[in-house]
């Protein structure tokens, strides 16, 4: 009997991890559809930023209440995973509380897991209330209707159920140890400390050991299978951030927020135009004619760079960006969160085509117009509030800018007033139709 359980556990474990690995490989493949971007500079500074922002949650606490709750759930997640390690060993080898030889240290660990489990339970309950009962602006956005809203709630339900299972499991285990049941009772006394689950014991009053074992085994299995399901749910969910927040922060921009990249292809063109010795009829350099003509800016996800695509998978849809966006705050269509969600949705769509057909085939859709509207793009003031607000280093502004570049340089589709201002800059060196020769007039005016 025991050996069958061990084999069943191994199968479930391997299947869960294999499926997870397949999905993570898909994420990596999809991110690699983007243009290469070099972020190999300053590894020391990048590690420090990752430690501060991702590991240390330094930007989460900018909203102290939500930040505090998040840190509890985050700590609970990390620390309770130590317990998962023991569960896996016990599952594979059919042992019981294998780490209990640690003695007092073990009791301390299990005790603190229990306290954390209760705090996580409280934390996610408050999160649920904030999302579903309080009228918090950033949880009411249009882009959060339907799946994104359900997704957020599923995660919270999942965490609640896992914590309840964990505490119930411990309670049944504790009772079995007190009863001196075979396999459960230890020579050295009680293994573990149960500061929270001990209060569940009255519920088991009069239960036979056989019943208690059924309860303990059921909750043990549900707990570990639940964790494996949750692990595999990540890929389909905004919850992927628990893994990607780290590389995402590491690869985020280190330069001042106001510094936008200079398109290199344009630099080369401009140099040619400015160079009086350049021969406009010169033969292109060898091999150059084979290269596809450079596309300026982005109209679909494959035109974006890999960090931008990683950003999209990392986005937790918390909406702190949108809550700070001046365009969004004044009722305009732009929502930086929606830009990230659209990018992810479109990237998934492109990825699914590749899964089905082996390579990408044009499906007549693209990120621009089918997902992100021009009206959204033109509402941006490039103020960087969204970038500053993101707790995990996502840069929605860079996507907006790349899409504007496509609109202006590939389609000449700037709004008329803006196009006029650009013509003025080109002709007069100022956005208004003033004469360049009048630039110093102010010095002679009273």
């Amino acid at each position: 009997m025991q050996i069958i359980a061990q084999i069943a556990f191994l199968i479930v474990l391997v299947a869960g991890i294999a499926f997870f690995t397949r999905n993570i490989r898909r994420v990596i493949r999809n991110v690699k559809l983007g243009r290469k971007v070099d972020r190999s500079d300053n590894p020391g500074e990048r590690f420090a930023k990752m430690a501060r922002v991702a590991l240390g949650q330094s930007k989460m606490v900018k909203k102290p209440f939500a930040g505090f709750l998040h840190i509890i759930v985050y700590l609970g997640f990390i620390i309770i995973n130590i317990e998962v390690l023991e569960i896996i060993i016990d599952g594979v080898f059919g042992t019981h509380r294998i780490l209990s030889f640690l003695g007092f240290g073990y009791n301390f660990l299990i005790g603190s897991f229990e306290i954390l489990a209760l705090m996580v339970l409280l934390g996610v309950t408050i999160f649920w209330l904030r999302r579903n009962v309080s009228n918090i602006y950033r949880f009411l956005g249009n882009e959060l209707k339907g799946w994104p809203k359900n997704d957020a709630n599923y995660i919270l339900y999942f965490e609640m159920v896992l914590m309840i299972l964990f505490l119930t499991m411990n309670a049944a285990d504790y009772q079995l140890q007190l009863n001196g049941a075979d396999h459960y009772a230890q020579n050295a006394g009680i293994a573990g400390s149960f500061p929270i689950s001990q209060y569940l014991l009255p519920w088991f009053e009069g239960f036979s050991n056989a019943t208690l074992i059924i309860i303990e085994r059921t909750t043990w299995w549900l707990h570990i299978v639940g964790i494996l399901i949750f692990l595999n749910y990540l890929y389909y969910s905004k919850h992927l951030h628990i893994l990607l927040a780290f590389p995402n922060v590491y690869l985020s921009k280190l330069t001042p927020q106001g510094k936008f990249d200079n398109l290199e292809a344009v630099t080369n063109e401009v140099k040619l135009m400015m160079d009086p010795d350049a021969d406009p009829y010169a033969m292109p350099a060898e091999g150059a004619e084979d290269e596809a003509p450079e596309k300026f800016g982005a109209s679909d996800v494959v035109d974006l760079n890999q960090v931008q695509l990683l950003n999209a998978y990392t986005c937790t849809e918390c909406g702190r960006c949108t809550a700070e966006c001046p365009a969004n705050q004044t009722g305009k269509k732009l929502s930086p969160r929606k830009v990230m969600m659209d990018t992810r949705d479109r990237l998934e769509e492109v990825g699914n085509i590749i899964n089905e057909k082996g390579s990408f085939e044009d499906d007549g859709k693209q990120l621009l117009d089918n997902y992100i509207l021009r009206e959204e793009l033109w509402a941006c003031t490039t103020c960087n509030a969204c970038v500053e607000a993101c707790p995990i280093g996502i840069d929605p502004l860079s996507i907006i800018l790349d899409m504007r570049r496509y609109l202006v340089m590939e389609q000449s589709a700037a709004p008329l007033d803006l196009a006029n201002a650009m013509t003025n800059i080109e002709n007069n060196g100022a956005p208004w139709p003033y004469n360049q020769m009048d630039r110093l007039n102010w010095a002679n005016e009273n």
């Binding site: 330069t255 001042p256 927020q257 106001g258 510094k259 936008f260 200079n262 398109l263 344009v266 630099t267 401009v270 135009m273 400015m274 800016g297 700070e324 001046p326 365009a327 705050q329 004044t330 009722g331 305009k332 269509k333 009206e375 509402a379 941006c380 003031t381 490039t382 103020c383 960087n384 509030a385 500053e388 800018l401 899409m403 504007r404 570049r405 496509y406 609109l407 202006v408 340089m409 700037a414 709004p415 007033d417 803006l418 006029n420 201002a421 650009m422 800059i425 060196g429 100022a430 956005p431 208004w432 360049q436 020769m437 630039r439 110093l440 102010w442 010095a443 002679n444 005016e445 009273n446």
Partner: protein, 263 residues
């Protein structure tokens, strides 16, 4: 002020075989916009007062390219940059000071990769350094005790982490400095950046500058201090839109210092 202030150009300096301590990059707003020209003149008066050896490019200056770049016209931006860099490098410019955070950001961050390497300063940072060197005195005068709130320009604050220089200057004016709900890294845009200044806003339920003006009005200031000609215009319009032009003034930090000096 009746007399015309002397504003030397780089060409004049070059002709005399001299090099100025700084190049004052005036910017399109500072050159052409009636409101911003007052800031330009106020800053020039402070430069005179502090005996700073400065010059402007005058008719050789051109748009730095910020609105074009942020609207997506990278070609136009790089053409502007290439032309400006040629002029600046031709004069062997080392240090640039500007009263426009958009010019400041572009020259400081985006020109180096295109061959333009200069020490670029916002005028508030430069004025602060003059103060610290004892070349310029800043004291209360008519602003003593007035309630002032500083509106952080996105391209000075968030974009380049300059938050304290303008505030330090305001404190020297012995004002009562009050902060808006959204300030410093959480500051709220005036609504003009990214080319918005030159186009109609997208449909919504409010203009960005009105929202920001309302945020400023919450702290009941006598003056909204600005450090950017775009912000200055947007906030002035906002104050007018809220019929507050009798009670709230919008002034650049440099203007306030010049006014306190009665320049």
């Amino acid at each position: 002020m009746a007399e015309v202030i002397k504003v030397p150009t780089m060409a004049e300096y070059m002709a005399e075989g001299k090099k100025p301590e700084i190049l004052f990059w005036v910017g399109c707003m500072g050159s052409f916009d009636d409101r911003a020209k007052k800031v330009t003149k106020a800053f020039v008066k402070l430069l005179h007062e502090a005996k700073v050896d400065f010059a402007v490019l005058g008719t050789e200056e051109s748009c730095n390219g910020d609105p074009a770049k942020r609207a997506g016209n990278e070609f136009l931006f790089q053409m502007q940059a290439a032309t400006n860099i040629e002029v600046l490098n031709g004069y062997e410019i080392k240090k640039v000071v500007t009263a426009c955070p958009h010019c400041f950001n572009t020259l400081k961050n985006e020109y180096p990769a295109l061959g333009g390497n200069y020490e670029v300063m916002h005028h508030t940072t430069f004025l602060k350094s003059l103060l610290e060197e004892g070349r310029l005195k800043v004291e209360g005068g008519k602003f003593k005790g007035k309630r002032i709130t500083f509106h952080d320009p996105c391209y000075l604050g968030r974009a380049n982490n300059v938050y304290e220089a303008p505030r330090d200057l305001l404190r020297k004016l012995e004002v009562e400095l009050v902060e808006m709900r959204k300030c410093k890294s959480n500051g709220f845009c005036c609504g003009a950046g990214g080319g918005q200044m030159f186009k109609e806003p997208e449909p919504g339920n409010k203009e960005v500058n009105i929202e920001r003006t309302e945020q400023a009005m919450e702290v009941k200031p006598d003056i909204i201090a600005a450090g950017c000609p775009f912000c200055n215009t947007m906030m002035t319009d906002g104050v007018k839109g809220k019929n507050q032009e009798g009670t709230i003034e919008v002034m650049d930090v440099a203007e306030m210092i010049a006014n306190a000096h009665d320049l």
